[in-house]
Amino acid sequence: MDGTLTLTNDLARLADVAHLVHQFGEAHRLGHETRFALNLALDELVTNTISYGFDGVAEPRITVRLALDGEAIVVHLADNGLPFDPLSRPEVDTTVPLEDRPIGGLGVHFVRQVMDELHYEHAAGENRLTLRRRLRPGDGIPDEQAGG
């Protein structure tokens, strides 16, 4: 199954994102770590868009789509917010002492860590992100241990 969800600029809908990941994870018997990765990546990116991307936008809209493409899970994220490429952010240096670190930027750092491929484009008035994560050994195993 593919999973699709349309959101507005309401952080309360993050629970729906978690629910979508849960349903998709059940349908494809994804392992706990992969479900966590999808949750975290979507949460961070949707949070950024809702928090910073919709200044002055009349009808904020975010669409999330999860699909299985051969040996990978593909996440499509599109929004009609201000043009912004989250992947253009400089890498976070996690070896810097806590006091000296800028407080933002960690979210995108996490997305880079849990996904294998990331691609951004701005087209037809939309920010479009495509993220891929290869299936891992714990994914797709018809075993209760794969749940979570």
């Binding site: 952080l11 706990h32 966590f36 975290l40 949460d43 006091e99 960690l106």
Partner: protein, 113 residues
């Protein structure tokens, strides 16, 4: 998201239950910062029932840690599940933040300190 505070051997234990994300973090920030303002010095965050944390949650932890440190206090974390531990690791926190396997281990360290 639930926050349960108890006092144990001179340590304030805060048990977090649920998902700590950008939607739930403002309330948790308020709860934890109130401990700083009431001059608590030893804070233990019990993560046994914390199912999930995002960068918004970590931001709260780091902010509270900084504020406590400025006042001579400490915050430590106990019983982190796999995904919460992974988020701490990805942020490079383990050498900088006290993390313990159990609440008892963390209490012992705070009591000794």
């Amino acid at each position: 998201m639930q926050t349960i505070k108890t006092q144990q051997d001179g340590v304030t234990v805060v048990e977090l239950r649920g998902r700590l994300d950008s939607q739930t973090s403002p309330a948790v920030e308020k709860d934890l910062m109130s401990l700083v303002e009431s001059n608590e010095k030893k804070v233990l965050v019990d993560c046994q029932s914390l199912a999930y944390v995002s960068s918004a949650g970590l931001r709260v932890f780091l902010m509270v840690q900084k504020a406590l440190k400025q006042r001579g206090g400490t915050i430590v974390f106990a019983a982190l599940n796999g995904s919460v531990k992974m988020v701490f690791r990805m942020a490079g926190l383990p050498p900088l933040v006290g993390m313990y396997d159990t609440r008892e281990d963390a209490l012992a360290v705070l009591k000794a300190g």
